[in-house]
Amino acid sequence: MPINPDIQGRTLEPTAPYLVGREKIREFARAVFATNPINLDVAAAQAAGYADVVAPPTFPIVIQQLTLDQLLAEPDAGIDFSRVVHGDERFSYSRPIVAGDELTGRLTVTSVKSLGGNSMITAGTIVTDASGAHVVTAISTLVVRAED
């Protein structure tokens, strides 16, 4: 089933607030081989001017993933998860994520294209904090491979 081109321009409901835990940041940091003390050590983070440990640059994927799950679950989108390949990814930050942040993600489908049987869907997730201020925008292109 091809991707429904009508989902281009669609904005989904914001995700429920996600409270970023200190140990979650440490767990993620170890998983991406981060050794920077600002990612791991509260005293080092505070010495650099942060309230708590700072998340590694790709941590926003955790929030973005929640919004991509919403997109895949849209009943009329026609996205076959087993055929999805990650094409590209971009994060544009207003500030780094810090433990204690309460984050909400909201996804908009910016483009849907077909190319030789494959479909490409680009979606941007805007991540904001509890005050509504912008933290990071995460943009993914997913390639949905053609049926064999």
Partner: protein
């Protein structure tokens, strides 16, 4: 810092040995439990050459040498990659990802530099257009 940097300078280099354990750890930390990242039978059934590292794991570790070079990871203002080739992680020998970070562009007015990453495994480039914009 802009006056001490020159386009083409290598600012950081690192090697990251990946094992299947690394993939399981990343799955848990990120919440991406797609079985192609830990089950050989599932990877084979969808026509893959083996269990693959999560693209986002490769993206996540490739920026770490830049984070260490900067000192403060909060000085990264933009980071993008294209996933051009999968990284197969052998159950016994794993895989090794090599990262070289070079100055690609300097914008003195904005006080920013673009750091270009060359990321490879088994002598093949695995990420394209891997660029980190940093505040200097």
């Amino acid at each position: 810092m802009t006056d001490t940097l020159t386009v083409g300078d290598v600012v950081a280099e690192a090697a990251f040995p990946l094992t299947r354990d690394s993939l399981v750890r990343y799955a848990g930390a990120s919440g991406d439990f797609n079985p192609i990242h830990y089950r050989d039978d599932v990877a084979a059934s969808v026509g893959l050459p083996g269990v693959l590292a999560h693209g986002m794991l490769t993206m996540g570790l490739a920026v770490q040498p830049v984070s260490d070079w900067l000192g403060d990871p909060g000085r990264i203002v933009d980071y993008q990659v294209r996933f051009t080739r999968p990284v197969v992680v052998d159950p016994q020998t794993g895989a090794e990802i090599l990262v070289v970070a070079k100055v690609g562009k300097i914008d003195e007015e904005a006080g920013q530099a673009r750091i270009d990453l060359t990321v490879s495994a088994a002598d093949q480039t695995v990420l394209g257009k891997a660029q980190v914009v940093v505040s200097l």
